[in-house]
Structure formats: structure tokens, C-alpha cells
């Protein structure tokens, strides 16, 4: 019974699907243990959106008018939710580039585990963190007077769309994390991420921007999620009346699907190219 001997050596015999799930869960658990080991890191990560809400809501908000009327802080909150989801791809990219640089990804690849678990487990952990971020942000928003007037189902739908955006950006983060050589150079990605969130409807209605910039902002995938979330939360929408703004709900589904369809294969290919 050679098979039995092997089993005694390599642990319990289970199906391939079982080990795939177990591998993913173990990678997820590892990422979440990081937060447990570094409580300060999560304070920073969750504290930053709160500070942003207060800064934009009260410093900028005092000078802001929402086209078509409505309270600016009501208008702002869905924008802050989406901005936080968008910036999340940076933490994915950072985690991946750190693992790649330290040889941890090579170690995983030299082990008999499922290779896909490295990215899938990471993504699952990122979504758990995204849920925590949305919870903290929503509580802050409620504390400063924001209300979701559209009903609980609609509100759940809005949070679902926000998480869908975050999900699609996991693959952008994995791909970028495997592209850039060091965590230091990954830090430079903030210079790209920042304009991407600013040139959108998150903080200012595109109709108030110069023509070409307004068009770019309206077509930004982040804007579709923001506008859709505003509609579902029952917050001021301030639509400029363009096609993409009028079909925000549809586009908030289409954009993340397109991003996933483009960047998931790119990330997979990049991962496979590690063995070339």
C-alpha cells in the first residue's frame, strides 16, 4: 500500500476542489492575520477615508454647490465610498509586489498548492477589508447627517455595486503588482490613482468641469458607480444629462465586467510568465 504511506506523509486525502478552497482560505487568512498583527496599519487604512470625508465635506464642502440643488455632503458620500474602493487597488498591488520581491510568491509556486489561490485568496481578503471600510465610512457618514433615503434594498444594491467595482480592481492590482519591480516604485502609482478618482463625478459634477474634462469624468468607470450609488441611496445625482450619466446603473455593472474581462486574463498571463 504505497498510496497509504504517501498519505501518512502528506496529510489527509481530499478532492482537488477541497484543496483549492482550502488553499484560497489559507491565503485569505494569512492576509487578514496581517491586520491582526499590525493593528496600527488598519487604523491608518480605515482612518484615512474618515479624514477625507471630514476634509472634503467641511473644508471643500463649504464652497461647493451641487448643480440642480441638494446638500453637498449628501452628494459627496457615495463619491467617497467609490473613491475608497478605487484606491483599494493600491493595497492589492502593494501586497503582491512585496510578496514577489521577497520570494514568497516563488515559495508558493514551488509548493504543491493551487497556483490560483495566491491571487484568489488575496482578492477575498481585500473584499473583506473593503466591507470593513464601507462599514466605517457609512457610520461616519450617518454621524455627519448623511441618509440613504432610497430604502434598504436599494442601499444594499448600492453597496453591492461599490464592492463589484472593488472586485474588478483586484485584478488591476494583481497585474500591476506583478509588473512593477519594487514596493517603492509601486508607490508611484498613487500619482495615477489620484487623478483617476478626482477626474470623476465623485467630488464635483462633471457638468461643472471644462467640456473635455467633463466628458472624460463622465465616462470614467468610477463615475458610473458613484452616480448609480447616488440614485440608489436617494442622494443628489446632479446628472449632466449625457447618455453615460443617464444609464449609470447599467454602466456600473458593465464597467467592472469590462475591467475584469481585460485585467483578469492579463494578471493570469503575467503570473504564468513568471515561469518563462
Amino acid at each position: 500500500m504505497t498510496a497509504l504511506e504517501l498519505n501518512a506523509h502528506t496529510g489527509p486525502e481530499r478532492s482537488r476542489a477541497h484543496w483549492l478552497l482550502a488553499d484560497c482560505w489559507n491565503i485569505t487568512r494569512r492576509s487578514l492575520t496581517h491586520y491582526q498583527r499590525q493593528p496600527l496599519a488598519i487604523v491608518w487604512q480605515l482612518g484615512f477615508p474618515i479624514v477625507s470625508v471630514l476634509l472634503y465635506g467641511y473644508v471643500f464642502g463649504s464652497a461647493m454647490k451641487v448643480p440642480g440643488g441638494g446638500d453637498y455632503r449628501e452628494f459627496l458620500m457615495p463619491g467617497m465610498f467609490a473613491t475608497t474602493m478605487t484606491m483599494g487597488f493600491m493595497s492589492t498591488a502593494m501586497a503582491v509586489v512585496t510578496d514577489a520581491g521577497k520570494g514568497v510568491i516563488d515559495r508558493f509556486r514551488s509548493m504543491p498548492m493551487a497556483p490560483s489561490a495566491v491571487a484568489v485568496g488575496r482578492g477575498a481578503a481585500d473584499l473583506v477589508v473593503a466591507c470593513a471600510e464601507l462599514t466605517i465610512l457609512a457610520l461616519t457618514a450617518l454621524a455627519i447627517g448623511w441618509r440613504a433615503g432610497g430604502g434598504p434594498l436599494e442601499a444594499a444594491g448600492a453597496f453591492g455595486l461599490l464592492l463589484l467595482l472593488r472586485f474588478s480592481l483586484i485584478w488591476v492590482g494583481v497585474w500591476l503588482g506583478l509588473m512593477v519591480p519594487t514596493p517603492e516604485s509601486a508607490g508611484g502609482l498613487y500619482a495615477v490613482a489620484f487623478p483617476v478618482t478626482m477626474i470623476s463625478s465623485a467630488l464635483v459634477a462633471p457638468s461643472l468641469m471644462p467640456g473635455w474634462l467633463g466628458t472624460a469624468a463622465a465616462w470614467n468607470p468610477v463615475s458610473s458607480t458613484v452616480t448609480a450609488a447616488r440614485e440608489l441611496f436617494g442622494n443628489p445625482v446632479a446628472s449632466g444629462g449625457t447618455w453615460v450619466e443617464e444609464h449609470a446603473l447599467l454602466m456600473a455593472l458593465v464597467w467592472p465586467l469590462v475591467i475584469t474581462l481585460v485585467f483578469l486574463p492579463l494578471a493570469v498571463r503575467r503570473f504564468q510568465r513568471l515561469s518563462r
Binding site: 481530499r14 482550502a22 514568497v104
Partner: protein
Amino acid sequence: MSASGYAVLAEGVVKRYGGRKGAAEKRALDGFDLAVRPGTVHGLLGPNGAGKTTAVRVLATLLRYDAGRVEVAGLDVAREPRGVRGRIGLTGQYAAVDEVLTGRQNLEMFGRLFHLGRAGARRRAGELLERFDLVEAAGKGVTEYSGGMRRRLDLAASMILAPAVLFLDEPTTGLDPRGRGEVWDAVRALVAGGTTVLLTTQYLDEADRLASHITVIDRGRAIADDSPDGLKDRVGGDRIEVVAAEAADLPAVAKAVGRVAGGGLVVTDDTGRRVHTQVSDRVAALTEVARALQDEGIAVEDIGLRRPSLDDVFLRLTGHGTDLEVAA
């Protein structure tokens, strides 16, 4: 262990980089051969850029190769990579452990990813922490570990399955002498447990201390394959070297040194006022030359024994030294 009887067997392995979009093609491995007997430590010795790391990455299933045949622990690496992964351990050039987790959390995580199950992973982590003398530091984050401790944790992580073959890619690079000693002790303990080790290193003395067999690699090709003693004999073995205080004393120094020369050439280097020759019995040679010089009243600036370095090996085997840029 396998039809070939070797724990690791590589035949004519070629690994090409580049060659696309007009970029010059580079052969990181260019007909690389290697045969490692089970239960031994085999040294893979070469300078930076010789192809050591590429070779290890190919053997450990991390890199695909373009031509040749590779068998590890009895399995074909190209056809059964997953099977190979269940029988090997890898310690790369950087301690590939999770910096944030504790030592114990690292080993338990890797154990679960090696499919030992939760209880199995916990038990194995406990055993390895003890074996690698990390019990006290087990609850500390890896950021608090010294270089040697990190390396030991890294080694422990690659030993979780008690692999048939362990690849160690420059395991002591960047460590202080104490850390190197710790790693060497750990490697010796592993081999005593029956593991086959392939060790890459730039240091001849490291290969000499640990390996029973050494393959020298240069430009992606094995250029020598011998025991450490055999290799040193080919290079010229240990040398005694005397630096005279006065250039006029050089002939007398050469005469004194000549008394212990084991049949080899006595080399006189006028500009450096140096005389050196190969010796077999190091201590006896040193004593005898020192006494002879003292008897004749010759003042010397320096006298000592020199072991052949990787540079010497390379110069002898290839005629171009270890500096590939200059040679190429």
C-alpha cells in the same frame, strides 16, 4: 529513487532569455548537465551570472526550460511539476517568509498550504521550531529576527514535507560569520536525516565544508565535476606565501620556500616581493619555512597560508577569472 538512480539529473538543459523584438538572445543555461547522488550535499559553484540561480529555478519547477531533460526525485520536471513540488523544498536567495507573521504562524501557514491539515500543520511547526532552535522566538514577528534566524526559519519552511531533495540557493549570502555557522549546522543536520541537498554558492570554502561533490558552472555550462579535494588538487591546493622585507632577500626566501614545495613550481613575484608555492601539509610547511627563514636571519613582512579561492578555480579552469564582464 528513480530509474537513473540520481536524486537530481539534468542533461543538456538550455534556457534562453530574450531573442524577441530584435533583442539579443542570451543563454542562461547552455547545455547544462548535473547528476546528484541521493543523500549527499552537492555544491553548485560559480560566480554571479554563471547560471546557478537559473539552474535551481529550473530544477524547482519555477522556470520552464527550452531543451534538455530534467528529473528530480525520480519525476520528470516538465511532465509532473506538481508531483515534483510535493517532493522538494526550496530556499531562495532571500528569506522567503512572511515578515509580518510570527515564526510559528509562518510555519503553520506553509504547513496548511502543504496540505498537512490544521492539526498536522501545528504539530509539524512545533517540531521544526524545536529542530531549528527557534522555540523562544516562535511567538515573535519575523521583523524582529536576526539574519541567521530568518534563514533558519526559511530552511524550516522548506523542510515541512521532509522533502527528498532540498534546493538551497546561496543560503549564506549576506549573513555574518555567526549566521553562516548557524545555517551550516542546520544543513548538516538535514543531510544526517537523509535529505539530498543541492547548494549553490560563490564561496569555495562553503562548498568545501558542506559538499561531498562540487559542480563548477560557468556561462550556463558545467565545466568541472569533482570532489572538493579533487577540485582543489586541480587548482593547485593550498599555497604558502611569503612577502620579503627586502627585494634582495628574494632568492634566499625562494630557497627556503622551495624546501616545502610538493614538487610544484616556486613562483617569485618581484614587484610584490612575494614568493609562493603549493603545499600539501599546511602546518608542517608553515613551521618549516618559518624556521628556515629564522635560521638564516631573513626578515619577512608577511608569511601565511592561502586557500584557493573561487577566483583561483576559475582562472585555472577557464583562464578568464570570475569577472565575466571583462572576459566576455
